[in-house]
Symmetry: C2
Subunit: 158 residues, 2 copies
């Protein structure tokens, strides 16, 4: 961990961009730790959630939906398939495609993950009283969804 002796310079302290960064760092730490309890990472959760909500899809479809890169998608799908959380079957109508379907085990897993994620959110927001939490969520939402265009996927930095 970090053992910063002395505060960061004043110029940086109240900087909105820095606050957002710190918040995200904290959030990610908490969420990652929570998901790790199920031996899983964020991509796994995103993928299961997408499958559950939108139903079976090809990997390419999932890539488009989630913003996860093709290469990484392969790995995550492999991984989840190995845990019987989803099924990978060739599409009879288009033999290029793999059709990915969530399994009952996958749904169970997802429920478990939902619980972990919810707890993580709680932990993340713990420093704020409930009223302020809602307000923060509202502000962040409005900050992040400008007009609705230029949406963000799951992955991506650029």
């Amino acid at each position: 961990m970090n053992i910063p002796e002395g505060a960061p310079p004043r110029r940086l302290r109240g900087l909105p961009s820095r606050l957002a960064n710190q918040a995200a760092l904290t959030a990610n730490r908490i969420v990652d730790r929570a998901l790790a309890q199920a031996g899983v990472r964020r991509y796994h959760y995103a993928l299961l959630a997408t499958l559950e909500e939108y139903g079976p899809a090809s990997q390419a479809g999932l890539v488009r939906r989630t913003g996860i890169d093709r290469s990484d998608m392969v790995a995550v799908v492999n991984d989840l398939a190995g845990r019987d959380c989803l099924k990978r079957a060739p599409d009879p109508e288009d033999r290029r495609r793999n059709i990915i379907t969530i399994t009952p085990a996958g749904r169970e897993q997802l429920i478990e993950l939902d619980r972990l994620i919810a707890a993580a959110q709680e932990e993340f927001l713990a420093p704020l009283p409930p009223a302020d939490r809602e307000h923060l969520i509202d502000l962040l939402t409005r900050l992040v969804e400008p007009g609705d265009d230029q949406r963000q996927g799951i992955g991506s930095t650029r």
Copy 2:
């Protein structure tokens, strides 16, 4: 850029951790782009700001102050020294130390960077009306500074 067709699954949409992430991603994109106009990255700004505020220090001191790793510190110091933004002189009292001092050119550079950073913050917060911006900053501050212990440096993920 990302071309997400279709929204991310509902489960993820309003998630505070995800909102924080999106916000940070946006903020970083904007800030990095701003600093790039001066051919500089975040560490450079952090280092110059630290030097300006706390005065000359050894690299180890700067490492403690900023949370930047030793190895990376060397690189940043090299870089800024190469631009005459700071001076690296052996400490006569302790010859293990390099004493790093900001130069006039460094101060000028810092002023320029301050401008760029300020503009970036403006751009980042643009979607919100001024009153909400303050509120957001307040909330984030309280969220991120729990008690004051377990402070964060500049770098760090863990």
